[in-house]
Amino acid sequence: MSIVPKETIEVIAQSIGIANLSSDVALALAPDVEYRLREIMQEAIKCMRHSKRTVLTAEDVNSALSLRNVEPIYGFASGDPLRFKRAVGHKDLFYIDDRDVDFKEVIDAPLPKAPLDTAVVAHWLAIEGVQPAIPENTQVEAIVAPSENKKSENSKEDGLLVDLKLPVKHVLSRELQLYFDKITELTVTRPESILFKEALVSLAADSGIHPLVPYFSYFIADEVARSLNDLPILFALMRVVRSLLQNPHIHIEPYLHQLMPSIITCVVAKRLGSKITDNHWELRDFSANLAASVCKRYGHVYHNLQSRLTKTLINAFLDPSKALTQHYGAIEGLAALGTSVVRLLVLPNLEPYLQLLEPEMQLEKQKNEMKRKEAWRVYGALLRAAGKCLYDRLKLFPGLLSPPRHPVWRINERVATSQSNKRMSSTNLSMQQPPLKKVAADGPTGALQPIAMTANLQGAPDGFPARSSGTGVGQPSTSGQVPMKTTGGRQEKGGSVAPKGSAVLAQAWKEDLDAGHLLASLFQSFGEGVFSFIQPVEMSFFI
């Protein structure tokens, strides 16, 4: 009936020397004990409130007791919350762990550090209603403030946006200035040191450096322009950029326009570093990945970000007057943006480009070993990009490769395209399609299949001479994928034979054809180098 059971009353009675308390008395006392307990706790809560706290302490209970002229309970006054331990074997029974302390231990122990004295520190919580981004304040979301305003009232938005930026400049504390100086100095002078690595970690994690972001972005832009022939510094700068991008507490969007040119410079610059031995390739890869990650993260905020980036890169890639290093950077940058970019932008231009590249790679035509090396690098990058793209495609259509494996395996020729080679791949293509289509069609009309197949088989020889006559090779820069066009035509032919209703089927088929043809055309370009990318799929096929 009361939350205090009568057994408790009996135990308490025993503890103060009343051995023979009748159970009736205990039963009668129990409700009153509970009532008094509640009364004391109510007073204790009042004391807690007046101490401006929200957590009840033993001290509050003691002051409540003294309010009622009751002796306080000694031994529990402590600033820390009490640590309760669960009694073994009981679910709801707790006790306070009260260890025996050896006097000797206490006496011998070194004096504890004196607690720090209470102090008052001042900072600006708000300046004209706007919270400055200083470490003393919780992080402000710079974007949130104006959007909130927009919701509540449009008229004051203008004034506030201006307000937003002023205090940021205003409030650069001395500590922040020191921090900035230190970081910039490290970046420029000792980019290899361990300290710099620490600095990068700090940049990636520190919550208070938001006010420094404009300074950093300016510093990076400035420094990249200045030290184009100092590779270590460039690398260090790119690392700083990466750290800043990683930092979850800062708001880097407004400064991206300043950072992006520097990053792209590090991707497609003609010369990076002064010495021949400088490994600028690595820097290009690194920066290309950075640029791609920026696109991925902020692409939805700035819609033209990716398009501008790709435009820059594709221009660099397609301009034959540019240096091979620039081409390399452009390819890497495009590849980092994802396979679809590669498929849409690089692959159509692959064949003509390879034709350009080929003489550079051959020993007899390009005497300059440096240049040749570069060309091979570019070739490797291209291969990688195209291969990744292919791999990606093939993942979508895992069954694609089973038939062509054997014929392909036999072919062992070089990049230089020959008629027979093409024929071979083309036949591959036609061979692989029927089973595939079976998968795709999966039974709308059984009769459709043979027709389509025949159409296809007819189509293959049809399309083939057309291509060997050179149209596919001849027009690199027309809009779509040139090789695809021929297939497209073929497919249309097939479609016209087949009933019109199978549009879906046609679509699926086209995809198949794309993928199949992709392999073929890539194979044309790269030879068996491409097949290293297919391996896993084959494996899966075997299993």
């Binding site: 009532y35 509640r38 009042k46 309010l67 008052v120 900072h123 600006w124 004209e128």
Partner: protein, 655 residues
């Protein structure tokens, strides 16, 4: 059937008179009789004791919840009083165990609205406790008043007649007053006001709130000195608006002449009372009537006056578009021992009261190098000139004041920063000099811990509030209180002066705020509406409104003249420790245990409420901005005369 009704009446009568034994005897006898006379009837009779309450209540509850949506919320209001009284009847009847079960079965229904009451009532375990707990006593003695539309009332009556549940009928008749209004049911379903207010207290409050109150500002205040040169152009401006021309003439007159006859003031007051509804467009400041001080006020020094005028001249105008700058003083390494803090008017001094009985004062000009910006510095310099010869050298960054023998619960600076008052759980108030760094006076008068102490806006006088349920008015030169305000039913937790020094407001654990006339010591207003203990109060500078904050995080704005709540402000999730109006009264700042400072738009709310009908009070006061701190509960807020907002709090890591 009739016989039963008679029995009911008898039982009710006995209970009302408190003849519980007789009642029991009667019941027992009845049981016996019915047992002997009719065996199958007796079974139900036996059960009837405690079970009829829970049965009757659960049926009523089911009926109320399944009633028509339109009338549902009105009918649901009936449930709480019935629930409470069923429980108390059960306890009073000695069926404690059943009462417990009953209480817990239906507790959830009412938790959202009446959690605090339930927590208090939960402890009732014997009839004796019923007498001891104030809440239950007041429930027993007073009637609930419930507003209802005609149709709902009819529905209820029909139900009660149909079901023949006499217990419920008895409870409802005994403890609930219905205020039946014709027409449609009221729309505000969430309003608990309709239920919680008890009859007698409400009547009392209404009676008290009829009294006249002069909320206007003091005549001949310094603000007027400043206004005087401006007032010509202002007059022309305001004349264009549709303003009461009489009033318009009177105001500059007030400011112009020093010793204005009392009659004139009276008339002005009357006009203000009557013409309040007429003047709806003009801002509150310009029409605030002037009143004579009832206390003899201390004279201000000329140089102090100059400094204030200087401050007033360079005051930043704040409104919902121009928000204030906030300088935050964080106490670190306090180990949860800081109980209170206060900041002097100019922000140059910060005091902290600790639970180890000590009181520490920091001079910000010596530590806060970072804060030194143009606006603040100017203010500090002016403060320094008047307060500090700046000759002292201090080893510690603060001045330590020892004297109390218990936790310090409140501190307050005099308006010009030369004195400091502190109140403590040792039931004393001490006056300290910040110039001499010493204790000047110890005021003994309260019998229990003094929760709050506040200097009047002009200094010299101060008010204190205590656990002994009184508030007291003191003057610095006397060690005995000048007035004792008694009337609250529980601890008086906070106290605040009205802008014209003629009134003080007190907030209490009995969930009411009262306004007292300083001269007569009478209670002139009772503000009912909070659901938990009141922790902070603030008066608007024009003297028209008052804000109060409670334990749950609710802030309420009150119109002093009508005694009504203008608008409740919901936003804080924990105790509102402090409230402050900006100097021209356009913004309200609130600091809370949820580690935020919130800024509220006062003008929007009051303007809206003046234009619309006053009765409907929705959440109109707009939240302008919430400024979170880094886990620092905000203990105190203070607007400087230049409208810079100072805030202070202790950094608490474990929160």
């Amino acid at each position: 059937m009739e016989e039963e009704e008679i029995q009911k009446a008898v039982v009710a009568y006995l209970r009302k008179k408190g003849f519980t034994n007789t009642e029991h005897a009667l019941q027992e006898e009845q049981n016996r009789v019915s047992f002997s006379s009719n065996s199958d009837h007796s079974v139900s009779r036996l059960e009837n004791g405690p079970v009829r309450y829970s049965d009757g209540y659960s049926k009523l509850r089911l009926w109320a919840y399944s009633s028509l949506d339109l009338y549902k919320h009105e009918l649901l209001r009936v449930l709480f009083p019935v629930y409470i009284h069923c429980f108390m009847d059960l306890v009073a009847g000695g069926h404690v165990h059943e009462a417990r079960i009953f209480f817990h079965t239906f507790r959830e229904d009412h938790e959202s609205m009446h959690l605090r009451d339930l927590q208090k009532l939960e402890g009732i375990l014997s009839p004796l406790h019923l007498e001891e707990i104030e809440l239950s006593r007041s429930f027993r003695q007073n009637k609930f008043k419930i507003k209802m539309c005609e149709y709902s009332y009819d529905l209820l009556l029909q139900y009660l007649q149909k079901t023949q549940s006499f217990t419920m009928r008895g409870v409802i008749n005994e403890h609930i007053d219905f205020e039946v209004s014709p027409g449609q049911p009221t729309l505000s379903s969430g309003d608990a006001d309709f239920v919680t207010i008890e009859g007698r207290k409400n009547d009392l409050a209404r009676q008290i709130n009829q009294k006249e109150i002069h909320w206007g500002l003091l005549e001949d205040s310094l603000e007027q000195h400043l206004e005087r040169p401006v007032s010509d152009s202002e007059k022309a401006e305001s004349a264009n608006k549709e303003m009461n021309p009489e009033d318009n003439k009177k105001r500059p007159l007030d400011g112009g002449k020093q010793g204005i006859p009392v009659k004139m003031v009276k008339k002005d007051k009357l006009v203000s009372m009557v013409g309040k509804n007429v003047r709806s467009e003009t801002s509150a400041v310009s029409v605030a009537p002037r009143v004579k001080p009832e206390l003899t006020l201390p004279a201000t020094l000329v140089e102090v006056e100059q400094a204030i005028l200087e401050d007033l001249r360079s005051r930043v105008q704040l409104n919902n578009l121009a928000l204030p700058s906030i300088s935050f003083y964080t106490f670190i390494n306090t180990c949860n021992r800081l109980n209170c803090s206060s900041i002097s008017q100019d922000g140059s001094l910060v005091a902290g009261g600790f639970s180890d009985s000590s009181l520490k004062v920091w001079d910000i000009s010596t530590i806060g190098q970072l804060v030194k910006t143009s606006s603040l510095q100017g203010e500090k310099e002016s403060a320094k000139n008047e307060n500090f010869p700046a000759t002292e050298e201090r080893r510690k960054p603060y001045t330590l004041f020892h004297g109390h023998s218990g936790p310090v619960y409140s501190t307050t600076f005099s308006p010009f920063g030369e004195f400091l008052l502190s109140s403590s759980s040792d039931s004393t108030i001490r006056l300290w000099s910040t110039k001499l760094n010493t204790n000047l006076v110890c005021y003994k008068g309260h019998n229990y811990p003094v929760w709050d102490v506040q200097f009047s806006p002009v200094g010299h006088y101060f008010a204190s509030s205590s656990h002994d349920r009184t508030a007291r008015i003191w003057s610095m030169e006397r060690i005995q209180p000048l007035r004792i305000m008694a009337g609250h039913l529980s601890d008086v937790d906070c106290v605040q002066w009205h802008a014209n020094c003629n009134y003080i407001a007190t907030g209490s654990s009995d969930k009411t705020v009262r306004l007292w006339d300083v001269q007569s010591g009478e209670c002139v207003r009772i503000f009912i509406g909070h659901r938990s203990m009141i922790l902070s109060l603030a008066m608007s500078p024009d003297g028209r409104y008052m804000a109060s904050g409670d334990e749950d995080g609710t802030i309420m704005m009150w119109d002093l003249s009508s005694g009504r709540c203008v608008s409740p402000l919901v936003g804080h999730s924990s105790c509102v420790w402090t409230l402050a109006f900006s100097c021209e009264g356009t913004l309200l700042a609130s600091g809370s245990a949820d580690c935020t400072v919130k800024l509220w738009d006062v003008t929007a709310s009051t303007r809206a409420s003046r234009m619309e009908s006053k009765s409907s009070s929705s959440n109109r006061l707009r939240l302008l901005k919430a400024l979170p701190t880094k886990s620092t509960p905000v203990y105190t807020l203070q607007f400087s005369r230049r409208n810079l907002l100072f805030a202070a709090g202790a950094l608490s890591k474990c929160s």
